[in-house]
Amino acid sequence: MTTVSVTYEEALTRYEPVFGLETHVELGTRTKMFCGCLTTFGGEPNSQVCPVCLGLPGSLPVMNRIAIEYTIKIGLALNCSIASWCRFARKNYFYPDMPKNFQISQYDEPLCLDGYLDVSVNGQTVRVGIERVHLEEDTGKSLHIGGATGRIQGAEYSLVDYNRAGIPLVEIVTKPVPGTGSLAPEVARAYVTELRDVLRSLGVSDVRMEEGSLRCDVNTSLSPLGSGAWGTRTETKNVNSLRSVERAVHSEIERQAAVLDEGGRVIQETRHFHEESGETTSGRSKEEAQDYRYFPEPDLVPVAPDAAWVDAIRTSLPELPSARRARLIAAWSLSDLEFESMRNGGALDVVEATVVAGASPRDAQKWWMGELARRANDSGVEVSALPITPADVARVSALVSAGTLNDRLAREVLDGVLAGEGTPDQVVEKRGLAVVSDDSALLAAIDEAITANPEVAEKVRSGKVAASGVIVGAVVRATRGQADAARVRELVLERLS
């Protein structure tokens, strides 16, 4: 047991962290990898199963063409080379989460090999090497009954739902990433963020970490600074949010540094991440890892994507997040920080659509990242989920530019649209919100205000222009905010000159 504790900063004065990530992504195909069962999330237990995914005798798997295509898409987006011929393999093991007693996976012949993904942290670009991308089938979900923690340890028995068993699952494995020093936790997080955005832009997965369609295992090791040798790594499982990825690397750096400082040795093992404490605990040791007895899956023929198919998929790739980032930063004159905040706020798509609908980039950002982000936050939804379209926001912005609305009225129009009162124009009409630009109406209100404030009027007449604010304010109040204050001021000064 480790007795000393080492702070993160101390650890980095003596050790160099190296991390790697294995990410599992459930593909968004309609049906499973090897059978026609639906993949919909949240169905009744064991309602999306058939003889193939239950491993019943005599059933035979057939590959889902779209799942293969999605995997090639991912490989191409991650700059991998695509295997011209590869096979699935049986991974044999004895947990009941696969009813066949094996999982169909890929072993030494992954579909995609040797690529990279560039990620940016604090304006600095780090290239994360991709070792492989392979395709397998997801496992069933177990409930462990009788233990104190709901975990497999200590359970008396388990209950298995096979709805998830057989859903196509892609595993993306990075090469070890050295040289990021104290930024290692942030780079790890940035990698998963970028990967999630790439997968989302490809449309191959809904990448919802909270529903388990994107899951990460994080490998971490330390080596004495400058030694050039790599340390023993641990694999932290169960890391299921972006924040947890960062915390898992951080806490493993501290823990391993304490072990090494004491002259101990880091054990190659699986560790479990605990969301509440942000720490990891020991799981099973890798040194006694079981032998999966991989062999080529005899029930599936090889996959041999020809060049024409791969080229067609390459041509169909959408604009990737890195290219989009570069394009938007240049076109909208953004700082890295502004871009990050828009991306992290989930507002990129709506802001871009608003610009396409005619608003200026600045105005589109102003409304989505300001007023609307606040509303979304208040009601606990993503800004893109608000009941208002980019076209509505562009129209509001246009009404402001034309002087029909001021910012205060514009916010009222947004209120009306969000409340389901119709388009911005309908809300303006129904609520009678247009700025009063008719000078004669304004002049009547101005004359009234001047009569009501004779001393102020006298001051303005004698040259104290600043005093006019009182009269302007009275006019704006009298018109219930619908007067354009700048125009009112002009008219007041004219009147009192």
Partner: protein, 98 residues
Amino acid sequence: MSITRDEVAHLARLSRLALSDEELDHLAPQLNQIISAVAQVQEVAAEGIPPTSHATGLANVFRDDEPVPCLTPEQALSGAPAVEMQRFKVPRILVEEG
């Protein structure tokens, strides 16, 4: 190539088969015979010829991503030895470690 009695015991444990000492004495030599029979195939295989995994020469046999009707939960669970909460009930997976 041969397989030791210990290796057979290990395989049995992985396969959740409870073998007595007598059964191990009996089965280990038999497995050895099976392995040496298979080893004869290796003598035939010429060097430089990769192991055959598929005999048909086919590749790229796919299905379209179209749903087909699956089983009802009742049908799916009809062969299960034990059922609870519409799920397959299975015995304890991990043995308590000391």
